[in-house]
Assembly symmetry: C2
Homo-oligomer: 142 residues x 2
DNA sequence: CATTCAATGCAATAAATTTGCATTGAGATT
DNA sequence: AATCTCAATGCAAATTTATTGCATTGAATG
């Protein structure tokens, strides 16, 4: 749940018109405390407005391309989406429950990843380092 | 490329009959120096023997379930497969080129991930920690 | 008022994987 | 030997997730 980010500003700063649909998608992602799948986002939006599934996919592509939203891979087949790192959102690892598909945010320092050496030596371009922990969540353990 | 692993033993140790197809899938994965997609594996096998795509998927599921092979997520839509950590294969991060889809193994120490704290405090079951670097590979940079 | 174009919708398609059911063939059982 | 059984595999259809092509709309611009 993010109270700091101004979604309209984020869109404008990336030269994107702040349309209702874009704002809605961004709010669903930003107001949630863990990453969501495109299906999750679509289902949530459908409850309060009329929007097409394809529009959600297209907006997500756009937001990812502009670096506003992060596309996060899971141990499953669907991508999940969360706010990309910015002044209010620091990079952090995620936990994916292979039983229920719920994804959680882990604290920034729960896993300590030192990427300095790699950045120096890697002979290509590095865009992103993704750390994901897979397992069974507390709820599903019972 | 692995010369240490005895694939037949690995299968037997997991109570799996060492069928020709299972050995072939495991050899393709083990003899390769980077993870492959199911399609890669299928294409490779089709060149020298007659095997069904579904059989490949089923064998991969089985090998993953038994912990012989690791299912590795990418920034793309398909899973990749590599030898699971064992005495000859230590856990390590991977690099995924978002342009050509090639996945590379990074050295165990190119990224230093400290998971001790998490293991102590996490209120669920942890099966796996996956670290993936996304970007553009040396070849695709040109 | 006419034109343009970004945003969206709708239907069809694609890619990757999974499922259901049939077939096969190597032992085990009679 | 004939029959039975069952794990392994094959083949076709279905599922899941995402993408593409083309039509529509409506606000901004001239
Ligand atoms: Mn997160
Ligand atoms: Mn590897
Ligand atoms: Zn769970
Ligand atoms: Zn590449």
């Amino acid at each position: 749940m993010c109270n700091q980010c101004n979604y309209e500003n984020l869109l404008n700063a990336s030269d994107l018109n702040a349309t209702d649909n874009r704002l809605r998608v961004l709010e669903v992602i930003g107001n949630n405390s863990y990453p969501l799948s495109a299906a999750d986002i679509f289902t949530t939006l459908k409850r309060t407005c009329s929007i097409n599934r394809v529009t959600v996919y297209r907006i997500l592509d756009l937001l990812v391309e502009r670096g506003i939203v992060d596309r996060i891979s899971t141990g499953g087949r669907a991508f999940y989406y969360g706010m990309a790192p910015n002044e209010n959102h620091h990079p952090h690892p995620h936990f994916y429950c292979t039983r229920c598909g719920q994804m959680d945010c882990l604290t920034q320092d729960s896993l300590n990843v030192d990427t300095k050496a790699l950045w120096k030596t890697f002979p290509g371009r590095i865009d992103k380092v993704e750390v994901r922990v897979d397992g069974i969540c507390k709820n599903c353990m019972k």
